[in-house]
Symmetry: C2
Subunit: 238 residues, 2 copies
């Protein structure tokens, strides 16, 4: 459906050369072809930046999977999305001095530091692309809000899997076999349900023969079957 995700490549960083060829370059990467940027390798569980830290750069995800999250003063936490190659990190802090969210790597990854003011001056299109990316993030968020508040727990899990598959497919990866980089707890947090509920939903999808689960490795056996579980409401309405 929209945001979220994970990646099939276990060693994205190490073999990036290989994948470079196979995986289509993202819009922003093309835009930044001629610019020299500082690249930063981030190990699994490491923090890219935290809420409250002074905002110097926006980051472009080049490889790996990241989660962005908010934490309330009383400790309540919410994962706002899982970010893949081509996604920007820190958009939400534009126009403010500090970052508004935490970003943590779920596996090894590489991010590119974008000095925004400089790029705005250097690249004519840059500002427009940035604006478009911001608007796109809003639409993504709204679509997830819609999903979270109108779908059952099971349907939300289905929506997540289909969205992820689609994103991976767009990146040139297999859309059938995928590796969830996040824990069941993270998934539950993002989808607004308990981790046990995620597990039960996945188990049932497997029992229905729609997916095959092997730990964090998931194989989509019947994409249409999954899709039908979302279209179910439409059938009712008709």
């Amino acid at each position: 459906m929209f945001d979220s995700h994970a990646v099939t490549d276990l060693h994205a960083h190490a073999v990036s050369e290989t994948y470079q060829a196979r995986v289509a370059s993202t819009d922003f990467e093309n835009l930044l072809k001629r610019v020299v940027l500082r690249r930063r390798i981030v190990q699994a569980k490491q923090v890219v930046f935290r809420a409250g830290q002074p905002q110097q750069f926006i980051y472009l995800v080049h490889s790996g999977v990241f989660k962005t999250s908010l934490t309330a003063a009383d400790g309540r936490e919410k994962i706002t999305g899982f970010r893949l190659r081509g996604d920007l990190l820190g958009l939400d802090s534009l126009g403010t001095p500090n970052h508004a969210c935490d970003v943590v790597a779920l596996d090894v990854g590489e991010v590119w530091e974008l000095p925004i003011d400089q790029l705005r001056a250097q690249i004519p299109d840059f500002q427009d692309r940035l604006t478009a990316a911001l608007a796109s993030e809003i639409r993504r968020d709204w679509n997830w809000m819609l999903a979270l508040s109108t779908l059952s727990a099971e349907q939300r899990v289905v929506a997540f899997l289909l969205d992820l598959a689609e994103r991976l497919e767009r990146m040139g990866f297999s859309s059938r076999q995928m590796l969830l980089r996040m824990s069941r707890a993270d998934l539950g947090n993002f989808l607004s349900m308990q981790l046990e509920t995620v597990v039960r939903a996945l188990s049932r999808l497997q029992a229905l023969g729609h997916i095959a689960i092997d730990g964090r490795e998931i194989c989509i056996r019947d994409r249409n079957g999954l899709q039908a579980m979302l279209d179910y409401n439409a059938a009712l309405a008709a």
Copy 2:
């Protein structure tokens, strides 16, 4: 807390002159002082624009209250926010040819048509303010996502009331007495709960003596009491 809302003024349009003096001008209004803009009066229940329509303008809310919503193909609907004076409508469609959401007036109101490309050229600061507004919308959305997925139904209603009160206060209105422009159903939709649950939550808040309800008119009797219901989690954590 963040987005949402309603307004105390029953006749905002009719007496706008009066309120002009009382209510602080918004950032964008100051920015646009010297520009001649088309103003559009919108009657209650009328549509400002619909998802799918070609996007020509961004609108600035000058008076009234508006709701923005998404509708899925199968009819599932989600209100993404209630918009007050100073809020921009249509930000989410920047960089795309069509609007992504519906905007409907909840009472009489006035919006200003902003021809973005023109304003970008005319006003040096405009682009930055636009970017800041987009980022701010993202933060708002994320904060509501956090609230919706971590607070109980009752707490969500409390969060809504406090957020609304704060927004009204910033606008120069009373933060104690307020008129909810939206139906209980709209409120429930926004807060991800059934309208009956909204009613029960409000009734209980009244029983606790924290608010007084008279239809859509709500008086906050004990702001601290309400706040304490949100801080409850913090107490547990400690």
